[in-house]
Symmetry: C2
Subunit: 189 residues, 2 copies
Protein backbone atom coordinates (compact mmCIF):
# COMPACT_ATOMS: atom_id res chain seq x y z
CA UNK A 1 0.00 0.00 0.00
CA UNK A 2 3.00 2.25 -0.18
CA UNK A 3 3.81 4.12 -3.39
CA UNK A 4 0.54 6.03 -3.58
CA UNK A 5 2.46 8.73 -5.37
CA UNK A 6 3.71 6.26 -7.94
CA UNK A 7 0.31 4.74 -8.57
CA UNK A 8 -1.20 8.18 -9.00
CA UNK A 9 1.40 8.98 -11.64
CA UNK A 10 0.63 5.67 -13.34
CA UNK A 11 -3.05 6.60 -13.43
CA UNK A 12 -2.23 9.99 -14.96
CA UNK A 13 -0.05 8.31 -17.54
CA UNK A 14 -2.91 6.04 -18.54
CA UNK A 15 -5.33 8.95 -18.82
CA UNK A 16 -2.86 10.86 -21.00
CA UNK A 17 -2.23 7.98 -23.37
CA UNK A 18 -5.93 7.12 -23.60
CA UNK A 19 -6.81 10.72 -24.38
CA UNK A 20 -4.07 10.96 -26.98
CA UNK A 21 -5.25 7.77 -28.67
CA UNK A 22 -8.85 9.02 -28.80
CA UNK A 23 -7.88 12.40 -30.23
CA UNK A 24 -5.37 11.00 -32.74
CA UNK A 25 -8.00 8.54 -33.96
CA UNK A 26 -10.66 11.21 -34.30
CA UNK A 27 -8.68 14.06 -35.88
CA UNK A 28 -5.34 12.61 -37.02
CA UNK A 29 -1.96 12.87 -35.31
CA UNK A 30 -0.79 16.10 -36.95
CA UNK A 31 -4.06 17.92 -36.31
CA UNK A 32 -3.97 17.30 -32.55
CA UNK A 33 -1.88 19.61 -30.38
CA UNK A 34 -0.32 18.86 -27.02
CA UNK A 35 -2.68 21.52 -25.66
CA UNK A 36 -5.65 19.52 -26.97
CA UNK A 37 -4.42 16.42 -25.17
CA UNK A 38 -3.77 18.32 -21.95
CA UNK A 39 -7.25 19.86 -22.08
CA UNK A 40 -8.86 16.45 -22.66
CA UNK A 41 -7.06 15.04 -19.62
CA UNK A 42 -7.61 18.14 -17.49
CA UNK A 43 -3.99 19.15 -16.89
CA UNK A 44 -1.71 21.86 -18.24
CA UNK A 45 0.60 21.30 -21.18
CA UNK A 46 3.83 21.23 -19.19
CA UNK A 47 2.60 18.25 -17.18
CA UNK A 48 2.51 16.03 -20.26
CA UNK A 49 6.28 16.13 -20.61
CA UNK A 50 6.63 14.21 -17.35
CA UNK A 51 5.21 11.22 -19.21
CA UNK A 52 6.62 11.49 -22.72
CA UNK A 53 9.75 13.17 -24.06
CA UNK A 54 7.89 14.53 -27.09
CA UNK A 55 4.80 14.17 -29.23
CA UNK A 56 6.35 11.68 -31.66
CA UNK A 57 7.24 9.29 -28.86
CA UNK A 58 3.67 9.49 -27.64
CA UNK A 59 2.40 8.18 -30.96
CA UNK A 60 5.17 5.61 -31.18
CA UNK A 61 4.51 4.21 -27.71
CA UNK A 62 0.80 3.95 -28.48
CA UNK A 63 1.28 2.16 -31.79
CA UNK A 64 4.18 -0.10 -30.81
CA UNK A 65 2.47 -1.01 -27.55
CA UNK A 66 -0.73 -1.86 -29.36
CA UNK A 67 0.97 -4.01 -31.98
CA UNK A 68 3.01 -5.89 -29.37
CA UNK A 69 -0.06 -6.54 -27.24
CA UNK A 70 -1.96 -7.73 -30.31
CA UNK A 71 0.77 -10.23 -31.10
CA UNK A 72 0.97 -11.36 -27.49
CA UNK A 73 -2.79 -12.02 -27.57
CA UNK A 74 -2.30 -14.11 -30.70
CA UNK A 75 0.41 -16.18 -29.00
CA UNK A 76 -2.12 -17.18 -26.38
CA UNK A 77 -4.70 -18.19 -28.98
CA UNK A 78 -5.59 -21.88 -29.40
CA UNK A 79 -8.38 -22.10 -31.96
CA UNK A 80 -8.20 -25.41 -33.86
CA UNK A 81 -8.72 -23.50 -37.12
CA UNK A 82 -5.81 -21.03 -37.36
CA UNK A 83 -7.47 -18.60 -39.78
CA UNK A 84 -10.61 -18.40 -37.67
CA UNK A 85 -8.51 -17.95 -34.54
CA UNK A 86 -6.49 -15.19 -36.15
CA UNK A 87 -9.55 -13.28 -37.34
CA UNK A 88 -11.32 -13.63 -34.01
CA UNK A 89 -8.28 -12.58 -32.01
CA UNK A 90 -7.66 -9.58 -34.26
CA UNK A 91 -11.23 -8.31 -34.07
CA UNK A 92 -11.81 -9.07 -30.38
CA UNK A 93 -8.61 -7.29 -29.47
CA UNK A 94 -9.08 -4.28 -31.72
CA UNK A 95 -12.77 -3.73 -31.06
CA UNK A 96 -11.98 -3.58 -27.35
CA UNK A 97 -9.64 -0.62 -28.00
CA UNK A 98 -10.80 0.97 -31.25
CA UNK A 99 -8.83 4.21 -30.89
CA UNK A 100 -5.47 2.46 -30.64
CA UNK A 101 -6.49 0.14 -33.46
CA UNK A 102 -7.37 3.02 -35.76
CA UNK A 103 -4.12 4.93 -35.24
CA UNK A 104 -2.10 1.72 -35.57
CA UNK A 105 -3.39 1.35 -39.11
CA UNK A 106 -3.97 4.93 -40.25
CA UNK A 107 -1.40 7.14 -38.50
CA UNK A 108 1.68 4.97 -39.07
CA UNK A 109 2.96 7.27 -41.81
CA UNK A 110 3.35 10.07 -39.26
CA UNK A 111 6.27 8.25 -37.67
CA UNK A 112 9.78 8.79 -38.97
CA UNK A 113 13.31 7.47 -38.57
CA UNK A 114 13.92 4.67 -36.06
CA UNK A 115 10.37 4.88 -34.73
CA UNK A 116 8.99 4.25 -38.20
CA UNK A 117 11.38 1.38 -38.86
CA UNK A 118 10.55 -0.37 -35.62
CA UNK A 119 6.81 -0.13 -36.15
CA UNK A 120 6.97 -1.27 -39.76
CA UNK A 121 8.99 -4.27 -38.62
CA UNK A 122 6.36 -5.13 -36.03
CA UNK A 123 3.63 -4.87 -38.63
CA UNK A 124 5.58 -6.99 -41.08
CA UNK A 125 6.02 -9.67 -38.40
CA UNK A 126 2.31 -9.66 -37.77
CA UNK A 127 1.53 -9.93 -41.48
CA UNK A 128 3.89 -12.87 -41.70
CA UNK A 129 1.83 -14.75 -39.14
CA UNK A 130 -1.26 -14.46 -41.32
CA UNK A 131 0.77 -15.20 -44.45
CA UNK A 132 1.91 -18.54 -42.98
CA UNK A 133 -1.66 -19.47 -42.16
CA UNK A 134 -2.66 -18.88 -45.77
CA UNK A 135 0.27 -20.91 -47.10
CA UNK A 136 -0.69 -23.77 -44.77
CA UNK A 137 -4.13 -23.81 -46.38
CA UNK A 138 -2.43 -24.39 -49.72
CA UNK A 139 -2.37 -20.90 -51.18
CA UNK A 140 0.42 -20.00 -53.58
CA UNK A 141 3.00 -17.52 -52.24
CA UNK A 142 1.97 -14.85 -54.77
CA UNK A 143 -1.69 -15.13 -53.92
CA UNK A 144 -1.00 -15.36 -50.19
CA UNK A 145 0.97 -12.10 -50.33
CA UNK A 146 -1.82 -9.90 -51.60
CA UNK A 147 -4.60 -11.82 -49.86
CA UNK A 148 -2.84 -11.22 -46.55
CA UNK A 149 -2.80 -7.49 -47.18
CA UNK A 150 -6.42 -7.58 -48.27
CA UNK A 151 -7.67 -9.41 -45.20
CA UNK A 152 -5.81 -7.06 -42.88
CA UNK A 153 -7.08 -3.98 -44.72
CA UNK A 154 -10.60 -5.32 -44.34
CA UNK A 155 -10.20 -6.17 -40.64
CA UNK A 156 -8.49 -2.86 -39.87
CA UNK A 157 -11.39 -0.93 -41.31
CA UNK A 158 -13.84 -2.48 -38.85
CA UNK A 159 -12.87 -0.34 -35.83
CA UNK A 160 -13.55 2.74 -37.97
CA UNK A 161 -17.23 1.98 -38.49
CA UNK A 162 -18.11 -0.39 -35.65
CA UNK A 163 -20.05 1.17 -32.78
CA UNK A 164 -20.51 -0.64 -29.47
CA UNK A 165 -24.23 -0.89 -28.85
CA UNK A 166 -25.05 -0.84 -32.57
CA UNK A 167 -26.84 -3.47 -34.62
CA UNK A 168 -24.18 -6.13 -34.13
CA UNK A 169 -22.06 -7.15 -31.16
CA UNK A 170 -18.30 -7.56 -31.52
CA UNK A 171 -18.71 -11.34 -31.33
CA UNK A 172 -21.28 -11.30 -34.15
CA UNK A 173 -18.98 -9.20 -36.29
CA UNK A 174 -16.16 -11.65 -35.64
CA UNK A 175 -18.39 -14.57 -36.68
CA UNK A 176 -19.23 -12.82 -39.96
CA UNK A 177 -15.59 -12.19 -40.73
CA UNK A 178 -14.62 -15.76 -39.92
CA UNK A 179 -17.11 -16.93 -42.54
CA UNK A 180 -16.04 -14.27 -45.05
CA UNK A 181 -12.31 -14.98 -44.76
CA UNK A 182 -13.00 -18.70 -44.94
CA UNK A 183 -14.52 -18.15 -48.40
CA UNK A 184 -11.58 -15.94 -49.39
CA UNK A 185 -9.06 -18.65 -48.59
CA UNK A 186 -10.23 -22.04 -49.84
CA UNK A 187 -8.46 -25.04 -48.29
CA UNK A 188 -6.65 -26.89 -51.07
CA UNK A 189 -4.25 -29.06 -49.10
Amino acid sequence: MARTKGSSAQATRTRIFDAAARLFAAHGFAAVSMRDIAAEVGVQVGALYRYTPDKDSLLFDLVAGHLRALMAAWEGCDDPVPLAGFVRNHLNFNLAQPAAAVISSRELHCLQGPHAREVFTLRADYETILGRILLDRGMSPEEAAFTTRSILAMLNWVPVWFRTGGEMTAAQVADRYVALTDRMVPITV
Copy 2:
Protein backbone atom coordinates in the same frame (compact mmCIF):
# COMPACT_ATOMS: atom_id res chain seq x y z
CA MET B 1 -4.80 29.97 -80.18
CA ALA B 2 -5.86 32.97 -78.19
CA ARG B 3 -5.99 32.81 -74.42
CA THR B 4 -2.42 31.67 -73.91
CA LYS B 5 -2.58 33.37 -70.56
CA GLY B 6 -5.62 31.37 -69.59
CA SER B 7 -4.15 28.06 -70.67
CA SER B 8 -0.98 28.82 -68.75
CA ALA B 9 -3.05 29.43 -65.64
CA GLN B 10 -4.86 26.15 -66.22
CA ALA B 11 -1.53 24.36 -66.42
CA THR B 12 -0.40 25.96 -63.17
CA ARG B 13 -3.63 24.94 -61.52
CA THR B 14 -3.07 21.33 -62.56
CA ARG B 15 0.48 21.36 -61.25
CA ILE B 16 -0.67 22.77 -57.93
CA PHE B 17 -3.43 20.22 -57.44
CA ASP B 18 -1.19 17.34 -58.51
CA ALA B 19 1.54 18.43 -56.12
CA ALA B 20 -0.96 18.84 -53.29
CA ALA B 21 -2.37 15.36 -53.91
CA ARG B 22 1.10 13.80 -53.88
CA LEU B 23 2.14 15.55 -50.68
CA PHE B 24 -1.16 14.92 -48.86
CA ALA B 25 -0.93 11.24 -49.77
CA ALA B 26 2.67 10.94 -48.62
CA HIS B 27 2.58 12.92 -45.37
CA GLY B 28 -1.07 13.50 -44.51
CA PHE B 29 -3.14 16.66 -45.04
CA ALA B 30 -2.39 18.32 -41.70
CA ALA B 31 1.36 17.71 -41.94
CA VAL B 32 1.68 19.48 -45.29
CA SER B 33 1.97 23.27 -45.34
CA MET B 34 1.00 25.63 -48.12
CA ARG B 35 4.71 26.49 -48.27
CA ASP B 36 5.50 22.82 -48.93
CA ILE B 37 3.06 22.74 -51.83
CA ALA B 38 4.41 25.98 -53.28
CA ALA B 39 7.97 24.66 -53.09
CA GLU B 40 6.98 21.41 -54.82
CA VAL B 41 5.38 23.36 -57.66
CA GLY B 42 8.16 25.94 -57.81
CA VAL B 43 6.15 29.07 -56.99
CA GLN B 44 5.78 31.26 -53.92
CA VAL B 45 3.05 30.79 -51.34
CA GLY B 46 1.00 33.81 -52.32
CA ALA B 47 0.52 32.44 -55.82
CA LEU B 48 -1.43 29.42 -54.54
CA TYR B 49 -4.29 31.61 -53.41
CA ARG B 50 -5.07 32.52 -57.02
CA TYR B 51 -6.21 28.90 -57.44
CA THR B 52 -7.85 28.03 -54.15
CA PRO B 53 -9.49 30.18 -51.46
CA ASP B 54 -7.88 28.15 -48.67
CA LYS B 55 -6.19 24.87 -47.79
CA ASP B 56 -9.42 23.08 -46.85
CA SER B 57 -10.97 23.80 -50.22
CA LEU B 58 -7.88 22.39 -51.88
CA LEU B 59 -8.41 19.03 -50.18
CA PHE B 60 -12.15 19.16 -50.78
CA ASP B 61 -11.78 19.84 -54.51
CA LEU B 62 -9.30 16.99 -54.82
CA VAL B 63 -11.45 14.46 -53.01
CA ALA B 64 -14.83 15.47 -54.41
CA GLY B 65 -13.41 15.67 -57.92
CA HIS B 66 -11.89 12.24 -57.59
CA LEU B 67 -15.06 10.63 -56.27
CA ARG B 68 -17.22 12.22 -58.95
CA ALA B 69 -14.83 11.11 -61.70
CA LEU B 70 -14.76 7.59 -60.25
CA MET B 71 -18.54 7.41 -60.39
CA ALA B 72 -18.63 8.84 -63.89
CA ALA B 73 -16.21 6.09 -64.96
CA TRP B 74 -18.53 3.51 -63.47
CA GLU B 75 -21.51 4.91 -65.39
CA GLY B 76 -19.62 4.19 -68.62
CA CYS B 77 -18.85 0.62 -67.61
CA ASP B 78 -20.53 -2.25 -69.42
CA ASP B 79 -19.09 -5.50 -68.06
CA PRO B 80 -21.68 -8.31 -68.25
CA VAL B 81 -20.79 -9.29 -64.66
CA PRO B 82 -21.53 -6.22 -62.52
CA LEU B 83 -19.30 -7.17 -59.58
CA ALA B 84 -16.34 -7.84 -61.85
CA GLY B 85 -16.98 -4.59 -63.71
CA PHE B 86 -17.17 -2.64 -60.49
CA VAL B 87 -13.92 -4.07 -59.13
CA ARG B 88 -12.10 -3.57 -62.42
CA ASN B 89 -13.31 0.00 -62.82
CA HIS B 90 -12.42 0.90 -59.25
CA LEU B 91 -8.89 -0.50 -59.48
CA ASN B 92 -8.14 0.72 -63.00
CA PHE B 93 -9.28 4.20 -62.10
CA ASN B 94 -7.54 4.42 -58.74
CA LEU B 95 -4.26 2.83 -59.77
CA ALA B 96 -3.98 5.41 -62.54
CA GLN B 97 -4.07 8.19 -59.90
CA PRO B 98 -2.91 6.63 -56.66
CA ALA B 99 -2.32 9.89 -54.78
CA ALA B 100 -5.90 11.10 -55.23
CA ALA B 101 -7.15 7.61 -54.39
CA VAL B 102 -5.18 7.47 -51.14
CA ILE B 103 -6.38 10.83 -49.85
CA SER B 104 -9.96 10.07 -50.89
CA SER B 105 -9.96 7.15 -48.50
CA ARG B 106 -7.53 8.22 -45.74
CA GLU B 107 -7.78 12.01 -45.42
CA LEU B 108 -11.55 12.36 -45.49
CA HIS B 109 -11.70 12.96 -41.75
CA CYS B 110 -9.72 16.20 -42.21
CA LEU B 111 -12.72 17.82 -43.86
CA GLN B 112 -15.34 19.57 -41.77
CA GLY B 113 -18.72 21.20 -42.04
CA PRO B 114 -20.41 21.35 -45.48
CA HIS B 115 -17.29 20.01 -47.20
CA ALA B 116 -17.36 16.90 -45.01
CA ARG B 117 -21.08 16.39 -45.51
CA GLU B 118 -20.87 16.64 -49.29
CA VAL B 119 -17.98 14.18 -49.53
CA PHE B 120 -19.57 11.67 -47.18
CA THR B 121 -22.71 11.82 -49.29
CA LEU B 122 -20.70 11.10 -52.42
CA ARG B 123 -19.01 8.16 -50.75
CA ALA B 124 -22.33 6.83 -49.49
CA ASP B 125 -23.74 7.01 -53.01
CA TYR B 126 -20.78 5.07 -54.31
CA GLU B 127 -21.15 2.42 -51.61
CA THR B 128 -24.79 2.09 -52.52
CA ILE B 129 -23.84 1.12 -56.06
CA LEU B 130 -21.78 -1.80 -54.78
CA GLY B 131 -24.44 -2.67 -52.21
CA ARG B 132 -27.05 -3.07 -54.96
CA ILE B 133 -24.75 -5.38 -56.88
CA LEU B 134 -24.40 -7.60 -53.84
CA LEU B 135 -28.14 -7.66 -53.23
CA ASP B 136 -28.68 -8.63 -56.87
CA ARG B 137 -26.44 -11.64 -56.31
CA GLY B 138 -28.79 -12.75 -53.55
CA MET B 139 -27.00 -11.50 -50.45
CA SER B 140 -29.08 -10.57 -47.43
CA PRO B 141 -29.22 -6.84 -46.64
CA GLU B 142 -27.35 -7.31 -43.34
CA GLU B 143 -24.56 -9.26 -44.98
CA ALA B 144 -24.41 -6.93 -47.98
CA ALA B 145 -23.93 -3.94 -45.69
CA PHE B 146 -20.72 -5.08 -44.06
CA THR B 147 -19.44 -6.96 -47.11
CA THR B 148 -19.69 -3.74 -49.11
CA ARG B 149 -17.57 -1.91 -46.56
CA SER B 150 -15.11 -4.81 -46.49
CA ILE B 151 -14.63 -4.95 -50.23
CA LEU B 152 -14.10 -1.20 -50.46
CA ALA B 153 -11.63 -1.22 -47.56
CA MET B 154 -9.71 -3.95 -49.35
CA LEU B 155 -9.74 -2.18 -52.73
CA ASN B 156 -8.85 1.18 -51.22
CA TRP B 157 -5.76 -0.29 -49.61
CA VAL B 158 -4.33 -1.36 -52.97
CA PRO B 159 -3.10 2.10 -54.07
CA VAL B 160 -1.16 2.28 -50.80
CA TRP B 161 1.05 -0.71 -51.56
CA PHE B 162 0.87 -1.04 -55.35
CA ARG B 163 3.90 0.19 -57.26
CA THR B 164 3.83 0.67 -61.02
CA GLY B 165 6.62 -1.42 -62.46
CA GLY B 166 6.52 -3.92 -59.57
CA GLU B 167 5.81 -7.64 -59.71
CA MET B 168 2.24 -7.26 -60.98
CA THR B 169 0.62 -4.93 -63.49
CA ALA B 170 -2.54 -3.05 -62.62
CA ALA B 171 -4.51 -5.36 -64.91
CA GLN B 172 -3.15 -8.45 -63.15
CA VAL B 173 -4.04 -6.98 -59.77
CA ALA B 174 -7.56 -6.31 -61.02
CA ASP B 175 -7.89 -9.91 -62.22
CA ARG B 176 -6.85 -11.21 -58.79
CA TYR B 177 -9.39 -9.01 -57.05
CA VAL B 178 -12.15 -10.01 -59.43
CA ALA B 179 -11.53 -13.64 -58.46
CA LEU B 180 -11.25 -12.81 -54.76
CA THR B 181 -14.46 -10.76 -54.58
CA ASP B 182 -16.25 -13.43 -56.60
CA ARG B 183 -15.49 -15.92 -53.82
CA MET B 184 -16.57 -13.38 -51.18
CA VAL B 185 -20.00 -12.93 -52.77
CA PRO B 186 -21.45 -16.27 -53.83
CA ILE B 187 -24.32 -16.06 -56.34
CA THR B 188 -27.45 -17.51 -54.71
CA VAL B 189 -30.15 -16.21 -56.98
